[in-house]
C-alpha cells in the first residue's frame, strides 16, 4: 500500500497529456570521441604528426533509443559486449548527459531535475565497486548516510537483505577484498535496495557469478517484482535469465534497439522473417549476426 502511495506522490501534479511511465526514454543519443586507431607501424615523422594532430572518430554508443517501462514491470536489455547497454544505464542514472533526446523518471527529467530522480533510483553494476578495505557494513552505512538513512536502520535493513540473498551476515564486518565476487555482488545489490528505490537499474548483476549466487540473485529480483511496484531495468547476457525475469525485452546492437517485445513476440517476429528460431538466443543471433559474448 505504501508503495502505491509513493508512486502517487511521485507523479502528483504532473502533466497528464501523456501517461506517466516509471521510465520514459525518447530518442536518446550519446556519442563519444576516440583517437582514430592507426593500422600498421608508423614512421617516426608520422608518429610525431599523430601526436600533435590526432584524428578523432565518433563512436555512437547509444543511437536514438526510445523505451517506456511501466510501474511494476521488468524491462530487459539484451546485447553483446560494447553494444551500448551500460551507456544507456549510465544515461538513465544521471552519470552521463545525453547529446539528444530525453529521459524521464516518474515524469521528472534526469538532466534538469536530477536530484529528484536520484532520490528514487539506484543501480547495480557489473563491477561491485566498493572501498575494498572497508567492511561491507562500513560501505553500506556510508551509502545509507548519503540517502539520509540512520546507521542503526541501515544495519538492520542490510542484514535482512543480505540474509535473503544467502549472504552470511556474520561476515559483514570483513573487509570487502576478502569476500568472493559473488558475495561482493550481493552486497552491491543490498546497497541498491537499502535505499528502497522506485527505479532499479540492474546492469548485468549476475555476470561472473557462480550458479548458486546467480540463482540467489535471480530469485531475489523475482521477489522484489512481486513485493514492490518498482520499475526494474535489467541488462544481461543471459538469455535464460532474460526469459525468466523480463516482461519485455529489447535487443540492442551498435547502440540501436533492433527489436523490442515480449519473449513470445520476439520469437514470433523473428520466425516469420528468418525461418523458425526456437529460442531467444536464436532470435538474438538471427538479428545481430553474432553470439552474445562476442566482442565487437
Amino acid at each position: 500500500m505504501s508503495r502505491v502511495l509513493e508512486v502517487v506522490r511521485l507523479v502528483k501534479g504532473k502533466s497528464v497529456e501523456q501517461p506517466i511511465y516509471g521510465l520514459t526514454v525518447r530518442g536518446v543519443t550519446k556519442h563519444f570521441y576516440r583517437s582514430k586507431r592507426t593500422n600498421g607501424k608508423l614512421r617516426f615523422h608520422q608518429k610525431l604528426q599523430h601526436m600533435f594532430k590526432r584524428e578523432r572518430e565518433v563512436i555512437r554508443a547509444v543511437d536514438d533509443i526510445s523505451l517506456e517501462v511501466n510501474i511494476g514491470e521488468i524491462y530487459g536489455i539484451l546485447g553483446a559486449n560494447g553494444s551500448g547497454k551500460s551507456t544507456l544505464i549510465r544515461l538513465i542514472s544521471t552519470l552521463l548527459l545525453p547529446d539528444a533526446g530525453s529521459i524521464h523518471v516518474f515524469g521528472d527529467d534526469v538532466v534538469t531535475n536530477s536530484l529528484k530522480v536520484r532520490r528514487v533510483m539506484n543501480r547495480v553494476s557489473v563491477e561491485a565497486s566498493f572501498f575494498k578495505r572497508l567492511s561491507s557494513e562500513e560501505n553500506l552505512i556510508y551509502t545509507a548516510r548519503l540517502y539520509g538513512i540512520p546507521a542503526p536502520e541501515a544495519e538492520r535493513k542490510s542484514k535482512q537483505i543480505l540474509e535473503r540473498l544467502g549472504f552470511d551476515a556474520n561476515r559483514m564486518s570483513e573487509e570487502m577484498e576478502h569476500l568472493s565476487r559473488g558475495m561482493q555482488q550481493k552486497v552491491a545489490i543490498a546497497r541498491a535496495l537499502l535505499t528502497t528505490p522506485m527505479l532499479l537499474l540492474l546492469d548485468e548483476p549476475t555476470t561472473g557469478l557462480d550458479p548458486k549466487s546467480k540463482r540467489d540473485v535471480q530469485a531475489f529480483i523475482e521477489n522484489i517484482r512481486q513485493e514492490r511496484n518498482a520499475v526494474i531495468v535489467l541488462t544481461t547476457h543471459d538469455m535464460v535469465e532474460a526469459e525468466k525475469l523480463c516482461d519485455k525485452i529489447a535487443i540492442i546492437d551498435k547502440g540501436r534497439f533492433i527489436a523490442e517485445g515480449t519473449v513470445e513476440e520476439l520469437i514470433a517476429n523473428a520466425s516469420s522473417q528468418n525461418g523458425a528460431p526456437a529460442t531467444l538466443e536464436d532470435v538474438f543471433i538471427a538479428l545481430t549476426g553474432k553470439g552474445i559474448e562476442e566482442e565487437e
Binding site: S93, L95, R118, R123, S129, L134, R145, G148
Partner: protein
C-alpha cells in the same frame, strides 16, 4: 533549516568514511606521520648551532604549516582520486545529495585530519629541539585564527585541484603535485619571498600561503596580537572567500564535462 540539518548529517558520511579508511590503512598513516616528523626535524636541525632559536622556529613553523596546508589541499583532491580508483565515484555522484554537501564533507575531514596530524607533530618537536625552540613568546590565538582563515583558501585550491583526478586519476595527481610545488616555491615557506627572483615575486603575492606564514611567524616569534595582523588576515580572508566559490564553480563545470565525455567510469 531541515535541509541544512539533513545535509550536515549527510556530510558526516564523508568524514566517517575517510576516518574508517584511515584506520584500515594505518601502516600508511604511520609512514606519512613519520615522514612529517622527519621532514620538520631535518629542516629545523639545519639551523641548530648555526642560528638563534628564532631561526630554528622560523624553519620549523615553515615545515609544520606547509605540512598542514598541503594536507588541506591534497585531501580533497585525493578523496576524488580514491573514489575514481575504487569505482565508487559513480555511486557517490548518483546519491541524492548536493555537490556542495559532498565537497564540504571532504573539506571538513581534511581540516580535522590536518589539525590532528600537525598537532601530533608539533607535540613531538620539543623532545628533539629542547631549548632550541622557545614557544613561551607565542600568541596561540593569532596562530589559531590564522590557521582557520587560511584553511578557506587552501580548501578553495583543493576544490579546483580535485577536478584533475575527476577527469584523469593518474594525470590528476601529477597536476595537483605541480600546483603544490609551485606554491611551495613561491610562498616563502623556508625563506623570505624577497630572495626570490623579481619575476617570481608577483606570484608570491597571490599565494595565500605567503600571508598565512607571515601571520603565523609573527604570532609564534613576536607574540603578534590579532589586531596587529588584521590587514594580513583580511587579505587572507578575501582570497579564501574568492577561492571557495571559484573552487565550487570549477568543480561544477568539471563534473558537467566529465558527465558529457564519460569520465566517471572506474579507472585503475
Amino acid at each position: 533549516m531541515l535541509n541544512l540539518v539533513r545535509e550536515t548529517i549527510v556530510s558526516y558520511a564523508f568524514i566517517e568514511r575517510n576516518f574508517n579508511l584511515l584506520k584500515r590503512y594505518m601502516s600508511w598513516e604511520i609512514l606519512f606521520f613519520s615522514y612529517s616528523i622527519v621532514n620538520a626535524l631535518t629542516i629545523g636541525l639545519i639551523m641548530v648551532g648555526r642560528g638563534s632559536s628564532e631561526d630554528v622556529l622560523y624553519l620549523v613553523i615553515g615545515a609544520l604549516i606547509w605540512g598542514f596546508l598541503s594536507i588541506m589541499m591534497r585531501e580533497v583532491s585525493d578523496a576524488i582520486t580514491w573514489e575514481r580508483w575504487e569505482g565508487t565515484i559513480e555511486y557517490t555522484f548518483m546519491a541524492p545529495i548536493y555537490r556542495i554537501t559532498h565537497l564540504v564533507g571532504s573539506c571538513l575531514f581534511a581540516i580535522l585530519y590536518g589539525l590532528l596530524r600537525t598537532a601530533l607533530v608539533l607535540a613531538i618537536m620539543p623532545f628533539f629541539f629542547g631549548e632550541h625552540i622557545n614557544l613561551g613568546n607565542a600568541n596561540w590565538l593569532t596562530m589559531g585564527v590564522t590557521v582557520l582563515i587560511s584553511s578557506l583558501s587552501f580548501i578553495g585550491i583543493g576544490l579546483m585541484a580535485a577536478i584533475f583526478p575527476l577527469l584523469s586519476p593518474e594525470k590528476g595527481q601529477a597536476a595537483t603535485g605541480i600546483i603544490q610545488s609551485v606554491l611551495l616555491l613561491v610562498s616563502g615557506i623556508y625563506y623570505e619571498i624577497e630572495v626570490l627572483p623579481i619575476w617570481l615575486q608577483p606570484i608570491s603575492k597571490i599565494s595565500p600561503a605567503t600571508y598565512t606564514l607571515r601571520s603565523i611567524r609573527a604570532a609564534m616569534l613576536d607574540n603578534a596580537s590579532l589586531e596587529s595582523q588584521i590587514s594580513n588576515l583580511s587579505l587572507l580572508l578575501i582570497i579564501g572567500l574568492l577561492l571557495i566559490p571559484l573552487g565550487f564553480w570549477v568543480f561544477y563545470f568539471g563534473e558537467k564535462y566529465a558527465k558529457r565525455v564519460g569520465r566517471l567510469k572506474r579507472s585503475g
